[in-house]
Symmetry: C2
Subunit: 190 residues, 2 copies
């Protein structure tokens, strides 16, 4: 997605250790129009798969997952990281290491919203190590629903997430912008 | 907003102590189309005010704030509750008691995204005690930006938030669905 790649080139910052600062337009302030276009493009790539639910993890996955769901005319579920009092006792639960928080985080999805008949597209802002997306995918399988695809706004290929996910889940994986190297302060697009 | 009120009447649950369970369509699973309509309606009510930024708090404010921002063609900022490594040292910071978590939560906004020239509309899923919204409004004022309005998807008038906010901030406050009483397991609309 050319427009997004140019925005990262102009306004993204390489903070070192693989950390890409895009909080001016992706994950603190969100450029709503750009995110809507990203959602439309992800939807275009997956709509032939009969998606009934988009699934993401709070917090920064919510914006791209919502715009993708809007374009697919499907609901979106965001897995919670702590249990709200409105959630039932028994939930689908998995864990993933957080790259940016340096600890394990829980992901919780209510069985009230994810059903065995659902065809689920997972969407997240980043595909990096793939650990969060893998945990979401395990939740989909635990529910008996069908995982149909994985979409990310930005992929950092050098963290190996695509290989991790491809080895476990036989579904198409799409990302809108691919970054192949962030060494020496660079941001090298693929 | 009639459609939303009917959805709450059909699928909302009164869990007692003023807690409204709407996690099947508002704040865990999100009905994307309904949320888009809610955003369009909030945008319609505020667009004459020259909004340049929509501001909300993670997590459940993100969806309505994003759809409102889309309809206003403005960016949206979500205040973070913990500091990501991408955020600068000096940030706008305020605190509010969390109704559902039973503790104080911090709200953090980067000065990189909120400027003195901005005209800010605050949007959240609920207007209840008004404490989270008041904290966001104080952040707007601390930045030197102009607060132009406050919008909520669902207002629970019996928690008094509108009075709290009106007393401190001289801006229009709009909510799409008003609930006036949740005693005795009821959900009474205003």
């Amino acid at each position: 997605m050319h427009e997004l790649q140019e925005r990262i080139r102009c306004d993204g910052q390489n903070l070192g250790r693989g950390i890409l600062k895009v909080d001016g337009f992706i994950n603190h302030q969100v450029d709503a129009r750009l995110m809507s276009d990203a959602g439309k493009e992800l939807a275009r790539r997956f709509k032939h798969l009969g998606v009934t639910k988009v699934l993401t993890a709070e917090i920064s996955g919510i914006a791209p997952a919502l715009t993708t769901a809007l374009a697919l005319d499907s609901p979106v579920i965001y897995a919670r990281k702590s249990k709200p009092i409105t959630m039932p006792e028994q939930v689908y639960r998995d864990t993933a290491p957080s790259h940016t928080k340096g600890k394990m985080v829980e992901l919780l999805v209510s069985p009230e919203v994810l059903h065995a008949t659902d065809r689920v597209l997972i969407v997240d802002d980043f595909l990096a190590t793939g650990q969060t997306i893998a945990a979401l995918a395990r939740i989909v399988l635990a529910s008996g629903a069908t995982l149909v695809g994985i979409g990310a706004v930005i992929e950092k290929t050098f963290e190996g997430g695509r290989q991790v996910l491809s080895a476990q889940f036989d579904v198409p994986i799409e990302s809108l912008v691919v970054i192949v190297d962030m060494g020496d302060g660079q941001i090298v697009f693929g």
